[in-house]
Amino acid sequence: MLQRGSSSLRKRPHQWITLVALICLTLLATSSAAPRKNTKKKLPPLNLPPLKTQEQKMQLLGYIRQNMPTLRQGSRVSFSSQDLDKALALELGDTASQAAPLIDDETFIRRASLDLTGTLPSAEKIKTFVADQNSNKRSDYIDELLETEAYARKWARYWTSVIFYESEANKRRVNPEALEDWLAEQFRKGAPWDYITVMLISATPERNKKKKNDYGQDYGPNNFVLACENKSTELASETARIFMGISIQCAECHDHPFDNWKRIQFHELAAFFHPYTYKMPSQEDPTVSTVVKPRFLLGEKPYENMKSDARRVSIAAYLAYNPQNYWFARSYVNRIWSELIGDGFYDVDSLGPDGDVVHKPIVNRIAANFRYKDFDPKWVFRLIMNSQVYQREMRTMDSPSELFTAIRPARLRPDVVANSVAHVIGEYPQLRKEIDTVFDMNPSLPQSTLEGSIQQALLLMNQRELQQALSQSELKQKLLGIRSNEELVQSLYLNVLARNPTPDELQRNVSYLQSSEKRDEAVEDLLWVLVNCTEFRTKR
């Protein structure tokens, strides 16, 4: 991980210091266009130590990171969930008075568990949580969930899906599972987001000629680059999309229609990822192309004559450590916020002009503090989930002015739906696979534009394995063993929807049981209804 000096660095201090100084200087002097004296003289090639292994790259990046001014300020700055609530109330103005009420413990435990781990809490856990008198129990529960394997796995899946959802790469040349495993390990360890990002961006997969079609896919971090087919243009647009939340893809062919990005900027970024001389094709005549020099989006230029390995390291540095690149921290914050609240400050990967960001001061403040907190992913979850914004009841909102006065009822992702089904009937691999396919959704689309399908309805209504499992499940046997109808219904709701039934629901279900001839069939019907209801596949 990112550490201050190690033995190999100390052996050749001169070279390292030169390089670090060079990169840092370019980083810090980006906007000040100081005239350079030696522009006419050709720069000598940089005699760098090898940057072949990830460790060598990370050591270098670690040095750059230490010199980030914002990190040095970090320890003195605090921004709490209460600060967030206050700041948002100020920002919302009069609308703040329309905010939805805070949720009860039952709703909280389901919501937090689904959000952090993608699984439902057990009936026992719900009971003890509700009974607990400790005033810090919500906050403690968040901490507890953040330490689970399920947390690491859920978010590794999410990011793998973000990277691979629209990838056109040949399936034999990528290994999404390896990426997921690697990410899960990072999230479990609590690795900082900048570290994870620079590992992904600076990877330089090389072909293993002994194995056909192998580019070292088994090595997790290589798979971001492989998902982009190692194409400069793809790497440019995906880096901007995923790690900056900026949509510059259309600038590949023409100046962005409604944003500042110019076609040349897109190709300068692409050139950064190119191992050799990059040429931009002419728009008029595809046979004509012009050489384009690498430049990062904010104008940062790498040292000329840098080898492509070193250049990848410097893109990672410009991306993560240029203090002016506020997009980097903000895009992570915006994604997590969208997942937790149901709406982002802007659509996660298609930010147009910066002016389209709603409540911009809030997201910028969280992003700045994320940086001060060493890009700790768990800090973002704690901040948001301990706030009132997160702990409000759900509501469907239509206008941007209402945003964040409630949370939006959100569709659960395919793996979470599969987990919920498994929670009720146990694990069935074939069924899980089918749910993953039928409930598949683009993780980068806003909740408000996602759609259900007839196939999803048909699956939960009729899928044979599911129906059989419902009728033979342990849960059903357990329910049938309960003599009192009231208790049966209570246990049913607690086990499937992770909450107690309302008086109406209790009465309705009890009378269904009473009026049915076959108790066995009636219990199965009730299970079927709860598995098929919208709430079962929604975060409330």
Binding site: P409, I454, L458, N462, R464, R508, C533, T534
Partner: protein, 427 residues
Amino acid sequence: MQSDALLHLNLNRRGQFTRRNFLQAAALGVAGSPLLSQIQLNAAEMKKQGRACILLWLAGAPSQLETWDPKPGSPNGGETKKIQTQTPGIEIAHYWPKIASVMNDIALIRSMTGKEAAHERGTYHLHTGHRMLGIEKFPHFGSVVARELGDPNSDIPNFVSIGQTLSSGFLGVQVAPFIIDRPGQLPDNVTSDASAARQRRRLALLSQQERDFARAGAEVLVQEQSKLYQKASMMMTSPRLKAFEFDGESEDMQTAYGKNQLGQGLLVARRLVEAGVPFVEVRSNGWDMHSSIFRNMERRAADVDQGLSQLLTDLKSRGLLEKTLVLCMGEFGRTPKINARPPAPGRDHWVRNFNLLMAGAGIKGGQAIGKTDENGQEITDNPVQVEDLFQSMCKAMGINADMELHTPIGRPVRLVDGGAVIKGLFG
């Protein structure tokens, strides 16, 4: 006052009736008013025309030189020979003897010219008529057809795709493609072991459960879900479900289409169109022939040749061809110059000129529109843009190509932006 509300609700700025508003009007309880029944009547009238479209999508982009525009003997011709067709004067590549025998029903467009040379972008352009720019998600043409010509209360989907395809974009779930993977079988999970009475009890209980959740703040999701459950339930009991299977179809007929995934898919497409589904896409994979193109073409073309020629013959003999548009195309063309890729040469991506096949729905068969030079490098006559193609598709389907669609944020966009109906296509 009610009629005022109706006018506002049902007619957009250009005086056109929009379906979303119809649903709102229905929800307001004004569905019985005279103006509305008038509109419903017109909609029904339109549907009586029974127009339909079958799109055979050759995914990966087939080579124009190995299909409808061969250039044997030229430096770019390769191993491909040409054969005479039923129509004097039209010659096509030798991989397609059966298509050659039904050429009198086919119009070839040999002078398509596009703008997108990447698969995803080309697929989008040729399915929606729009280039992939900005964030707007344009609907698949099938979703437009489903919306304009489909029955909103249909018990089976108005748009079926055999194989994965694009989405309905901003037109929403109502007209989204219903995707099946294995032709000739019922779609997954449409049968239930529960008796009809028990199913009704469950659904009744479910709808009460849903009402509570809607009240708790999830109205929009519950509304969508209810619509989908209603459609799913209707589908489960639909007598038209058997169109997905080969019930009542002779063994000979199945053989005639070809006993393979593609042939059986085209047979299902015909059965679905016969059952009133206005749009069916059938997907054939494996046309991205960067290497070994001549050998691969030999293998791939056979199934399509047999299935597609049989589809045209079959539609014609049932009197369906005059109302059914049949399209066979891919996302772009392939480089006239043959590459040197091992193990055997192929052709790369090329968008400057490519071709496609159209038939039915009033299109004049037995003609080839547009020409390329002797090397297949340049279009020498009548270039056709993607927009021209979509204008022509709209004309064939009786859909107004100038109509405005509304994106979720209310931005009006034209169904087809520019272009003109291909000259001579409709005789």
